[in-house]
């Protein structure tokens, strides 16, 4: 069980960063709140490999950097649609296959889709995603292919 000390360290660091207090009384309150959070997390059975994927931190960080670039691009695209009077809206629904992803990979992919403006995940299930997209794309499945591949690589470690 590496997850309990891991979460303990993370919560303590968060508390210290947010408060900056060092008196004994405040530290006691901090210990109490950290312990309460730990107990609640265990009661909800949220502790585990899926909830805190330490083994995938480095690929996730690389993926986050790539995702930032995508967010900038799609922000500009949606901004263009808003401020250009002649810009055409062409909303459509796209169904994407699950391709045998783990739940972590599905969650990461669905979240990435929703985080980039212009695409929203309507439904995320084990057998696929249903996505609402704002723009006309050349080919709907090609458009999501890079994000699908990269999120799968980041979460599951396979391409």
């Amino acid at each position: 069980m590496i997850y309990v000390p891991g979460l303990f360290i993370a919560l303590t660091a968060l508390w210290l960063a947010l408060s900056g207090h060092g008196e004994a009384f405040m530290l006691g309150l901090a210990a109490a709140s950290v312990c309460l959070s730990l107990i609640l997390t265990m009661r909800l059975r949220l502790m585990g490999r899926e909830a805190s994927p330490y083994h995938r931190l480095a690929p996730m960080a690389r993926y986050a950097v790539w995702l930032m670039g995508e967010i900038v691009k799609s922000n500009l695209a949606v901004l263009h649609t808003i401020i250009e009077p002649s810009a055409r809206l062409r909303p459509r629904l796209v169904a994407l296959d699950a391709d045998g992803r783990s739940e972590l990979a599905t969650a990461l992919f669905a979240n990435s889709i929703t985080l980039t403006p212009g695409t929203v995940t309507l439904e995320a299930a084990r057998d696929g995603l249903l996505v609402h997209s704002l723009h006309e794309g050349a080919d709907e499945h090609e458009e999501f292919a890079p994000m699908a591949a990269k999120s799968l690589l980041a979460a599951d470690g396979r391409g």
């Binding site: 967010i71 055409r88 909303p91 609402h132």
Partner: protein
């Protein structure tokens, strides 16, 4: 030098406010809930990121910088969850998205 960084920070903040207004205009202009969610997510991602960057440049290395990063992280983690809950609930209750070109209703549109 510090002056220059503060000015760049202000420029980021003004750009963020511009994005935020653009997102609000989009929420007013777009035809249905689903398209409006796209416009609103500009404010959630673009404007929040730019504004955090701008304020980070103005704050420099300080406890406030850590808190700014935490605010940004919260917004980036929660906004897709909220948008998905909204879109999923609207879709699950039977609201149909407008598809195709809304200004020229075609025959396949119901």
């Amino acid at each position: 030098m510090l002056e220059a960084i503060a000015w760049i920070g202000s420029a980021f903040i003004i750009a963020a406010v511009g994005l935020s207004i653009a997102g609000a205009v989009g929420v007013l202009r777009f035809p249905d809930v689903y398209t409006r969610i796209h416009a609103a997510s500009i404010t959630d991602t673009g404007a929040a990121s730019l504004m955090t960057l701008g304020m980070l440049l103005m704050a420099g290395l300080s406890p406030a910088a850590i808190k700014l990063c935490i605010v940004w992280l919260f917004i980036m983690l929660t906004s897709p969850a909220a948008a998905h809950a909204l879109a999923g609930a609207a879709f699950g209750s039977g609201h149909r998205p407008i598809l195709g070109d809304p200004r020229r209703p075609s025959e396949d549109e119901t």
